[in-house]
Assembly symmetry: C2
Homo-oligomer: 858 residues x 2
């Protein structure tokens, strides 16, 4: 006899190990899986579901261990002639997967003969051949090629019997036992386990199975099978879509698309609506019932057996990001689900996809090179190799893509002018990536196969192809792919559903969301997304404008305080205008401005041409300018003369900035704006630094009040980005109105790891599990997180009303937001394009995260 | 009447406010000051001390506030004709200073007449003129010039009366009140307060005063005054030194050196021993009595009044570093003080001066430029500008001084060959400073006035003078001065007293002291100083040897693991030999070896010549080698691909090092050494890093055991130098036998401050009080210290027997050692030349620091 049991003795279970799915049966998702429960719901709704039996997780585990339920009794529950059954998986969550369905279990010579009589030879042969193929390939794991070549059941049987040296099993119990065992063991396989764990399944996730009487879509009259869904899977708009195929079963209608027909009557040809208007109407009712009773848009698998509708299965309708937002919002608007549930149904990251132009899913993609998906969205443009060329392109109204080995602050103006950025080096937290996300610019980094020659103005692809300046490419920052030519793209989808979700998030959340916004464009975008203010306005970018950069450089090269003051005098009105515009735009909301942070050498030219231009502007010998630039270089700029250290060494700079802020406050108020400036001191390590800088700021405020006769309020606080500032947050809070944790730098220092240099090994580190996640993407709760908690506790203890915030890149990360909320933070601040994500994540954290500030003290 | 009271009403104290110093009087250092107490002790010893009255701190404070004691009663305590008194300050500690003494209070017209009769006109005029000058200048703060020009008391009185428009005060009570008030107020002055606070005085330190009857050193017969001490102030050897001047008082003998005579009979001329052999013998007895009863070598101020000795004062004998060690040891050896007290009497830092050659204090110094005293000791040599020239000098047996703008790892071999290092840039914790201290090489850094041109082989001094390669200079790393030509120097003083102190320290201390030793020379020196083991052997320096550097570079440039393995195969025997020699030398003591730490690009050449040589050695095009070197550069090398990150990315390197360590262990044992290797993993941030590296090390150990048939023990631990490692010390300790805190890097990361870049502003930061101390010199107890405590607590909690250590530069800092001891650390490790300092500091901490591990938990 065929060794279907692999030589193991057949052991029977003590309990039946299965249960018939009836409206009152005790079926549970956590015991029988999602599909079994869904089928019970459909049955309860009175839908024509064929008879179904569910095997719980325990039974399937027993089967994998060699213990089989009493299959004779199981089969005796079913009626029907011939006795044909389907077996489908039913895991706890559809995302966790499961083995493919096996149909027509029970097909044997006898059933073949019976079906030949009733359906005809062609249909009977087709069914039998199909079953033997499926049994041989999916269950017995035989080589598939000969079976796909076989054209008749007889041929297939002969191949089978030659391969296994035993007759094809005829008893339905033997067939069922073999299928059950195969599915149970497949679930336990390593790759299946890894795949489902990647979807969040626990290590001991169970598999349920569903045995269902086959509803034949083959036979006389109108018979066939199909799939229907009631919304557009791309947009979520109401729309009946799907396919129907006569004389077919299972998902044939989707596989054999050429022969399948559409469901709805339109110009494309015959439709189910034409063919069987009654059944079509019935299907619409099924959809409506599902939506109301199952509270979800479902994809329904149906069979028509001689004109009679049977519902075999219904699963959550698959959907693109945009549709998932639209469906959740629509269900809530219609009162099917509460708004809070709509908020919980959308993964926050989904929203990112709505904010950017995307590659049209139907477009043809020719991948030139792959890199890291560093900033989402897609853009088409001509290759340029430096900022000057990008700006020239922009002035010609030509879209361009900035291609660099890596970017430096010098490239920021080029990024402003480009449609996307592509770099050979760097990771998802490199300079290019961070700036691009801030600008909402698609960006691919770490495209390591490229060889870029800026001087020769060409880039060599991994396959040796050479692209030159002006050649057109498409950058897909969502997938990390660079595509040949101009690929079609789709508009962003900031529509009504999106707006509803944002509004409902605002109603729910108990932690603020501000934006990191340096420019008027950033601020405008932030207001569009309804932020609670600006949490981080980096003033350094304001000095990279070409007109200002020269003055900035003169200031840096000043040899006396009075020369420096003269240069700053010229920068003052520019800064004041920046802030005035910002304050007017953000009227009514707080704006937190960080005083100058980067080392001054970042403002100096690094290339010969720039140095020569500077020497001319300064009217100094080239050699001297070169020597001074060289003398300003630092071994570790991240750990050098920057932040508050600048403020203490060259107090005139911060004094100019404070004056610009206060004068802008007065000007914006005069223009009718409500302005509440906050001044943030970067890179603090000790209270005394804050005292020294704050004293000077207060003096400037007094002076401006006297000069203008206007009173105004302002707050001075600290950016906590060194471990020491977090540890000493208590004493620092005594002179600080707010503590805003800059988790980018804090992570760098806690790990002793530069974001710019980590790119070379971070992915290997994460892949090998050295770090569970890239700590620059996901807040390191154990290390950096402890410093946040310590800092928050100590800050609040010293000053009960101190404002606590997070303003690093992590501010847009849902897990980090939940962490900050539990730590009692007042707000997070993130790049404008992450604001919608952050707001939704904040709402979800509020709904699910327990009491605010409830982080267990350690 | 003369407004001596500045117009204030004279208020009297309720209590007497003074006390006569008698053997039984209640005189306390904390109430009357150090001098009052010392005088009481001299009186108790029966020495001829003139009658003395002490004013306590409270009285002097009251005087400053305008309340005067009853001076008539005070004066009535004294007998004598004429009534002349001296007034001296008596602060709690001699180092805290105090106003200068005022002598001969009571001089007036009447006393002048009386003295003219008894001593003659000349002596009487001299005394009166002197007092008027002193009263006018020191007490009344009149312009000194006219008084110094006045030649008679009459002239001086006229000038005085013209200036103040009042007669010179005649009443002794008026004179005394004025002097008291002047001294009391001077003590409260800002500059006096700052000066004494710099010496460690508390803000409310008090001043006592001592009123003493003048013992006249002027008059008939042998009269005069002098100073005597009984040890050589440079060496501490017994030797009577001092001066005596006839017809003089106070410290005249020291001021008027030309006229003063020596005390002891020798070839230099007349001596006190010749003149008054009895008095000389008496003085020797006074010295011996002071040594025994005051338990100290004293400097005694004496007067001879008509052949009769009077002892006016005795202070702790001033002494150079070497003498202070010799005196403490000698007192303990003679049983005058216990050994523990000898240990406490020597400031640990003092020992540094004994270990190095010093500039002869008698030599003439012509300072060329001043910088930071970065590594102690003095050396003479010819200027060289690079490592090659230094090595060439060495091969010619010519002493040389390496002069660089700043040093890089490339310069280490030049430092090995040089006698001293001078750099234009950098602070006390720059690369040059750290390496120089490690090598025991005198070093001056931050000599900012220099302009060094390595290509022109010359250095321009601040005054424009040009020195060329080969010119001889002297570097004084103890003072930070660079001197012209070859200045005479003295040998180090590691003598018997030093050895005794070291031995006594070992007997007392309860915290280990190991050395940071990379080379055989370091290790030999460490054994000389009696270390407890090697706490940090940095293996990177082993690869800078020119023969190895090439192989190292081939390893770095290897394109395949097998090429890399081949290069490592060649490095293996070299490393093995290094370790074998080290293990033999350190037999019986633990040796902790740190696996490779620096980024690999540190091993690559940065100059064209070196790159060309490398390209030739590798047989690759220059452009390719250049491009690869460039590609390896990092933005922030301190935060880059180094430490354990290398070990994980390129496991072959650590595997080679582990194999070298284990094979060396077997070899050293075969040669009879007792070896206990410890392997330290650098720059750890997470437990998983330790697990991965430790697993590979264990596998190598198993392999070596099998290959050699020898068993051996070893320990694997972690260098805690990132804030995260300190925070996660609990889980890291689970797989680590020891946690050694590398406070150099830990400080850099806690502050976000690179040691190399901090030099530019650290001194300004400390001067402005932003940081109380340079945290790279003195452990930042509040910030970095908290991480040490947290790490220690968590490490010990997870693994009770985990070894805790500190191996940064702070390991040689007394305050840090005391801190580590309280934190329960097992040992500190410091550069060999700091070992004596650390051992003495450890002993002092044990004697004074309370129970070990007794740091208050927070």
């Amino acid at each position: 006899m065929l060794q279907l049991h692999n030589g193991e003795a057949q052991v029977m279970l003590d309990t039946p190990g299965f249960i018939e799915v009836t409206p009152t049966a005790d079926i549970k998702v956590t015991r029988h899986g999602n599909r079994a429960k869904c089928l019970q719901r459909l049955i309860r709704m009175g839908l024509p579901v064929p008879q179904t039996v569910a095997l719980p997780f325990r039974t399937v585990r027993d089967i994998a261990d060699g213990k089989m339920p009493d299959l004779a009794t199981l089969i005796s529950l079913f009626d029907g002639q011939p006795m044909l059954l389907s077996l489908r998986s039913s895991s706890e969550t559809a995302d966790w997967g499961g083995p493919n369905a096996v149909l027509n279990i029970g097909m044997n010579d006898k059933a073949h003969a019976w079906l030949s009589n009733t359906l005809g030879d062609v249909a009977a042969d087709k069914l039998y051949l199909r079953f033997i193929r499926s049994f041989a390939i999916d269950v017995m794991r035989l080589d598939e090629e000969p079976f796909l070549e076989a054209q008749t059941p007889l041929e297939a049987r002969e191949i089978f019997e030659a391969e296994v040296d035993d007759p094809f099993p005829q008893a339905i119990t033997d067939q069922l036992a073999a299928v059950l065992r195969s599915m149970a063991r497949a679930w336990e396989g390593t790759s299946a386990r890894l795949l489902r764990q990647a979807q969040g399944a626990p290590a001991d996730a169970g598999l349920g199975l569903v045995v269902q009487r086959m509803a034949q879509g083959m036979g006389p009259g109108q018979s066939g099978s199909g799939i229907v869904q009631f919304v557009n899977p791309n947009t979520g708009e109401p729309q009946v879509t799907g396919r129907y195929l006569g004389q077919a079963m299972g998902r044939d209608a989707l596989i054999d698309r050429d022969k399948a027909i559409y469901l709805t009557r339109d110009a494309r040809g015959p439709s189910l609506q034409d063919l069987l208007p009654e059944v079509y109407r019935e299907l619409l009712e099924v959809g409506e019932a599902c939506r109301k009773r199952l509270r979800e848009e479902m994809q329904v698998e149906f069979t028509i057996d001689q004109g009679r509708l049977a519902i075999l299965d219904a699963v959550r309708c698959p959907r693109e990001a945009r549709a998932s937002v639209a469906i959740a919002a629509s269900l809530a608007r219609d009162g099917v689900i509460p708004r809070s549930e709509a908020l919980l149904r959308v993964a926050p990251g989904t929203l990112s996809h709505l904010l950017h132009r995307q590659i049209d899913p139907r477009a043809k993609r020719t991948v030139l090179v792959r890199g890291i998906a560093a900033s989402p969205g897609a853009a088409v443009g001509k290759i340029v190799f430096d900022s000057a060329a990008a700006q020239a392109s922009q002035s010609r109204d030509e879209a361009c893509i900035l291609v660099r080995r890596e970017t430096t602050p010098d490239d920021v103006r080029g990024m402003h002018a480009a449609q996307a950025v592509l770099t050979e080096r760097g990771g998802s937290t490199s300079h290019a990536a961070v700036i691009a996300r801030g600008l909402g610019l698609p960006c691919v980094t770490g495209a390591t196969g490229l060889r870029i020659s800026g001087t020769k103005r060409r880039v060599t692809l991994p396959d040796g192809t050479i692209l030159r300046e002006g050649d057109e490419i498409t950058v897909d920052g969502s997938s990390g792919e660079v595509l040949a030519g101009a690929v079609a793209t789709q508009e962003p989808a900031i529509d009504g559903a999106f707006g509803d979700l944002m509004k409902w998030s605002d109603d729910v959340r108990d932690i603020g969301v501000r934006a990191n916004a340096d420019t008027v464009a950033d601020a405008t975008l932030s207001r569009t997304f309804g932020v609670d203010g600006i949490g981080l306005c980096r003033t350094e970018h304001m000095f990279f404008d070409s007109g200002r950069l020269t003055v900035m450089r003169e200031m840096i090269f000043a040899e006396t305080p009075s020369d420096r003051a003269a240069a700053l005098e010229r920068l003052l009105p520019m800064q004041r205008d920046d802030f005035t515009e910002l304050f007017q735009l953000m009227s009514g909301l707080p704006v937190c401005i960080r005083l100058l942070d980067p080392p001054l050498h970042e403002f100096l030219p690094s290339e010969n041409e720039g140095i020569r231009a500077l020497a001319e502007a300064l009217d100094r010998p080239l050699s001297e300018v070169k020597a001074r630039i060289e003398a300003m270089q630092e071994y570790n700029p991240m750990l050098g003369m920057r932040g508050v250290r600048l403020g203490i060494a060259l107090p005139e700079i911060y004094e100019m900035q404070a004056r610009a802020i206060f004068e802008a406050t007065v000007a914006a108020r005069a223009a009718g704006a409500q302005t509440m400036p906050e001044i943030m001191i970067p890179l603090v390590t000790a209270r005394r630094e804050v005292e020294l800088v704050k004293r000077r700021i207060d003096a400037i405020a007094t002076a401006v009040r006297e000069e203008t006769g206007q009173d105004f309020d302002y707050r001075v606080g600290v950016m906590v980005e060194t471990p020491r500032a977090a540890l000493r947050a208590g004493e620092i809070a005594e002179t600080s109105a707010f503590l805003s944790f800059g988790t980018n730098d804090l992570t760098q220092m806690t790990y002793g790891l530069s974001r710019d240099d980590a790119g070379r090994f971070m992915s290997a580190y994460v892949n090998e599990g050295v770090y569970p996640e890239d700590p620059f993407r996901t807040l390191d709760v154990d290390g950096v997180g402890e410093l946040l908690l310590l800092g928050a506790q100590r800050g609040r203890k010293a000053r009960a009303n101190v404002t606590l915030a997070l303003c690093g890149e992590h501010g847009g990360n849902p897990e980090s937001i939940a962490f900050c909320r539990l730590a009692g933070f007042d707000y997070v601040s993130c790049s404008p394009f992450r604001v919608p994500v952050a707001k939704l994540a904040a709402a979800q954290a509020t709904l699910l995260g327990g009491p605010k500030g409830g982080h267990p003290a350690d």
